[in-house]
Amino acid sequence: MSSSETPSRAHPSYLEDSGRHKGILGWLLSVDHKRIGILYLVSIACFFFIGVTIGILMRLEMLTAGPTIVQPQTYNALFTLHGVIMIFLFIIPGIPAILGNFFLPIQIGARDVAFPRLNLLSWYCYIAGAVIAVASLFTGGGPPDTGWTFYVPFSIRTGTNVTLAVFGAFILGFSSILTGLNFITTIHRLRAPGMDWFKMPLFTWSLYATAWVQILATPVLAITLVLVMLERLFGLGLFDPAKGGDPILYQHLFWIYSHPAVYIMILPAMGVISEIFPAFARQKIYGYKAIAFSSLAIAFVGYLVWGHHMFTSGMSDTSRLVFSLLTFFVAIPSGVKVFNWVSTLYKGAIVVPPPMLYALSFIFLFAIGGLTGIIQSALATNIHVHDTYWIVGHFHYVMFGGAAWGFFAGLLYWFPKMTGRMYNFRPVFVAWVLMFVGFNMLYFTMLVLGWMGMPRRYYDFLPPFHTGHVIATVGSWFLVSGLVILAATLIRGLRRGAPAPADPWGGTTLEWRIASPPPTENFHEIPTVTHGPYDRPEISV
């Protein structure tokens, strides 16, 4: 293995080297994990902004009591679509499919994922599922109005186009399963020499835990959705109480997937944070193994808590107690992570460029999301807040404040590596202020409204809730302007940003050892790993 350092022109970046096909086909038919990551980035970003638009329309509708801009049936369609798009098209694939695809192979010192062609197929499944879901809006009986949970018996009775929307979600499930399968195999088979399990970066660890959840939970949703389709098409009667079926069984099956899915969303974000903290605190991460194992623990316990979505649906007291207790347990590994991140900062030389700023605010927002979660896992409180804005506020703190902020932090952290260009910091700080203020105005108010008794998914509200709804709607305007500035800054950076050096942040993992943007097969020569992912030999001397 004697090869000298070759000039960079011999190894063009993945952006220049389009492979066997030219132009747009060089992207659409590429099996390079980095190009596929970018395909996901572009498509997911589009759907994210559609979801945001629907969200802001909903808030606008709730600005005043009674009809404001849309009719009640349209409002039902809006909250359904907002949920379906944000969950199935943005948050679930978000971090794993974009950042995971791009960085998982690089972080473990591999040239690609284990099954590159399957990886491209996953993207096509994603697009097919998304197109079908969007098609359900304009065909059949109009957009679905069931909420993203598709609860029976309403979802089998409604005349709206639930069948097609559900089929779209089913196809999206394939995409998720294939990505998970690919990542697990990649991590088992393609780690570079010396990269043992405990030298893997924590982002990779979190993707590993996530991938198992994707594989083991998604099929249960798939079969549940198939049953809803069969129910609508042939009237099987399995969930229809009129025919002897049991609607509660649907809820069990649905949440057996959809609760673990929450961890598909949040675990990768936690992985991103575990990368960013050591990089900007200039410290080795505190409690590496604790963070790695807590990811697996969250993935495991996450399977056993689905019943907490159904405390008011009809379950025995014993099951409710058990589900409640198990739900409290989720707080333990989550707490382990938060304390380890904060301890990483201790005596660190902390710098706060944009990625770190978003990572720090992730902790704040996720902590509120997590703590409100503990409140509602207590049985008595749960009955009080069930199906209110409290729940909406809670899961937005976890999903948006947690998963999506983690995604923004990761995007800002890895943007220079992915594009080879820097972005302008100042507008990102402005965007952060707008987003942070707007976010808390919007969702903290929702917590308060919910506690006061405002039910979720209602088109109208009583006078006491008016002030709260106004504050929340104004907050949504701040939040969206921040998002727009953030997106515009990154797009501007992409076109006019200064060239990024290989390691702009002082990161320690393998992706910072190669050029920005990375060459086609990442490593000219597969590296041999000799020290931990967050070791800083230059300062430990």
Partner: protein, 252 residues
Amino acid sequence: MSTAALNEAHHHDATGAKIGMWLFLFTEFLLFGGLFLVYAEYRTIYATDFHYAAMSLNLLIGAFNTLILLTSSLTMALSIAALERGLRRLSCVLLVVTIGFGLFFLVNKYFEWSEKFHHGLYPGSEVLAGRTPGEGVFYGLYFAMTGLHALHVVIGLVVLGAMLGIVARKPRLKARVEGLAPARLVLQDASGQTIWSREVAEPPEAVELALVYPEHDEVREPQVTKLENSGLYWHLVDVIWIFLFPLFYLIS
């Protein structure tokens, strides 16, 4: 050292392919797992109704189909064993036999289902509307589960058909020698894709190997792995049926 140094980039990873396949099979088991869960609940609630409903299933056809699927799994396993030993022709014949059994299974299924329809035993029928809700749920489950299983048989047959094309074709390989010392022997398939490469100490040795290697085990390995993975899928179809058969036909 030099002959042992493999080119990692294009080297075929049979273990990786198998890990991927097994993970996929997990997801299939969980897919059916959801249905078995539904079955378990309704079996508990409607024990008596299920008992009576099951008596009108045709035990003879069910048992016969079980026999067919089990035998097809045997011929599948033999086909893999044949290819591992380099008996390409025998492997193909056994694969064709397996596909034949699969089609036979579907034909029986067709007659079985048509009989049910003929007697009005299908979801939403007037006959079932006049019976207990439990019997309706039983037939709902029966069609959902055996239907999904039949769909898997069809997918399995398509996979096996594709495999027949892959196994039947002797790999047409182009051997190329790159470099001098260390030389690299590269084998490419018809489409020009590198399927195997290895570093060798001397160019003459590489040329010698180029003559021998197209029939070597390591070159045949990708085909065997593919056939094994397809076989695993076929066994999955079989295993699911092993559970469906007693649950619907035998417990009555």
